[in-house]
Assembly symmetry: D2
Homo-oligomer: 147 residues x 4
C-alpha cells in the first residue's frame, strides 16, 4: 500500500499581502518545505550523494491551482504524494487543506512539481541531469500514487 | 496586428539561493511585476473600477517551465502576451529571456497564469468573480495572441 | 522572577542566498515570528482588542547584529525578552543561537525591535499610537528583563 | 565636495502585507538594492577583486527607523551616503523618501548598515575580514558624509 506524507505550517504574517490573504507565490515555498521535510523524514540526504558526489534537484516545472484563500493564523496541511517516478525525475502532487479541528479540512489549493536529479561539480555548478541513485529511488517508490 | 508587452528586471542578490541561482518561486513575482507594469502602461487602474467599485484579480492558476538558470547580475526580459481573453478571466503567457547585448536572447523560462476579475466589498473582501468591465476588455483585446 | 520566551525554527532553503548563508533580511522575519508565537502562547490576541476595537503593532525601530552565519538545515533558537515596557511601546531583545545537541548553543545574532500599540479605524487604517491595554501590559510585565 | 547616490524603486504588490503597507523587512532589501546599484554606477565589481581573489561584503549591523508607511504604487527614493569609511568596513546611511511630483519628498524611513570586506576562499566560503582594496576605498572616499 502506498503512502502519503503530510507537512503542516502555520501561516505567517509576512506571507500575506495587502489583499489580506497569502500571496500566491508563497504556495511554492510551502511545496518546497514539504518536499524537504519529506526527505528529512526518509533520512535521505538530498544534497550529498552516498557515493561522495553532490546532488541538486532543480525544478523543471511547477504549477498551482487556487480554490480558496489562506489567511494569517490559518494552519495549512500539505499532503505530498509522488504521482510518477521517472529514471531522472520525481513528479510531486500536493494538496493544500486548511486545518479544521486538528484535521485536514477544506481543499484550498492543489500543486504539482517536477524535479530532476542533477550532478553538481566541485565548484558547486549544476552539470546536467542524472539517474536517481538506486537507494533513493527504492525508498521513493513506496510513495508513488498515480493521480 | 496584435501586440506584445515587454518588461525588464535586473536580478537582485536577494532573489538568489544557495545554489547560486534565482530561486524558482521568484519567477512568479516577476510575472506579477510584468502584469502590473502592463496595466500601468495601459493606464488601466487594476484595483479601482471606473464605476466606483473595487476590483481584485485573484489567480486561479499559475505555472512555470524552467529551462536555464538566471543569476545575480543578469537582466531578464519578460514578454507578456494574452493567450486568451474570457468573459471573466485573462490568460497570460510569459517568456523569460536573458538580455544579451541589449536584446532579449536565450529563452530561460516560460510561464502561464490565469487571473479572474472579482468584485471587492466595502470591507475589502473578495466577493466572487464578475465580468471584466468593457473598457478594460476593449484595451486588452489588442494584446490577445493565441499560443 | 522574570521569564524568557523561546521560539525555534528550521532554516529553509529559500532563506539562503548565493553566498550559501541565510540572507540577512530574514532575521527580521524570524523576530516577527517569535513575537507572534509569544503572543499566541500568552493567549493575547494582537489584532483584536477585548473592547471590540482593532489594534496594530507597527514597528518604529528594528536592528540586528550579525556574528556568525546560519545555513540551510540549521535550527535556530530565538530567545525573546522584553527589555523595556513603555506606556505605548514594547522594546524587544532577541538572541539567535544555533541549536546544538538540542540546546541553544553559539550566539549567531542579536536583534532589537520597538513596536508601538496603534488604533486601527474601521477601514483598516492605522490612526495613531495609543496606550497598551491594561490586560495586555499586565501579562507582558512578567517578561521584562532590562538588558 | 562629497556626493550623494540616489536609487529609486516602485513599490511592488508582493512587498505589501495584510496591513496594506510595505512589510518592514523589505526596507532591508531596498537598502541592499541601493548599495548594489551604487557599486554598479561606480563600476566597482563587489564580488571579484582586481587581483583575482573573490570578495564578499557580509553585514555586521543593520537598523531602520520607520516614520510613515509606504504603499503599493508608491515610488521611493533611497539616498545612500557613506557615513564612515574604516579600514575594513563601510558605514552606510540611507534616507527613504516618497517621490512626490518627481522629487524626493516626505521622509518615510531612515536606515543604517555596516558591511565588512571579507576574503572568500576557493570553495566559496568567507574566510574573515580584510582591508578594503585601495582602488575601491579611493572611489568610496568621495561619498563620505559624516552624519
Amino acid at each position: 500500500m502506498s503512502k502519503d506524507f503530510h507537512h503542516r505550517r502555520l501561516i505567517e504574517f509576512v506571507d500575506t499581502d495587502m489583499a489580506g490573504i497569502v500571496h500566491f507565490s508563497n504556495y511554492f515555498r510551502y511545496m518546497e518545505l514539504a518536499e524537504y521535510a519529506f526527505f528529512r523524514q526518509l533520512e535521505l540526504e538530498m544534497m550529498h550523494h552516498r557515493d561522495g558526489g553532490k546532488l541538486a534537484w532543480p525544478r523543471v516545472h511547477v504549477e498551482c491551482d487556487y480554490r480558496k484563500p489562506l489567511r494569517f493564523g490559518d494552519e495549512v496541511d500539505i499532503r505530498l504524494r509522488i504521482s510518477a517516478l521517472r529514471e531522472k525525475a520525481i513528479h510531486y502532487h500536493f494538496e493544500f487543506r486548511r486545518v479544521q479541528d486538528g484535521q485536514p479540512g477544506e481543499l484550498v489549493a492543489e500543486g504539482r512539481s517536477i524535479i530532476v536529479c542533477a550532478q553538481v561539480d566541485e565548484g558547486g555548478d549544476i552539470k546536467g541531469s542524472r539517474t536517481i541513485p538506486d537507494y533513493i529511488a527504492e525508498v521513493l517508490r513506496k510513495y508513488v500514487q498515480p493521480e
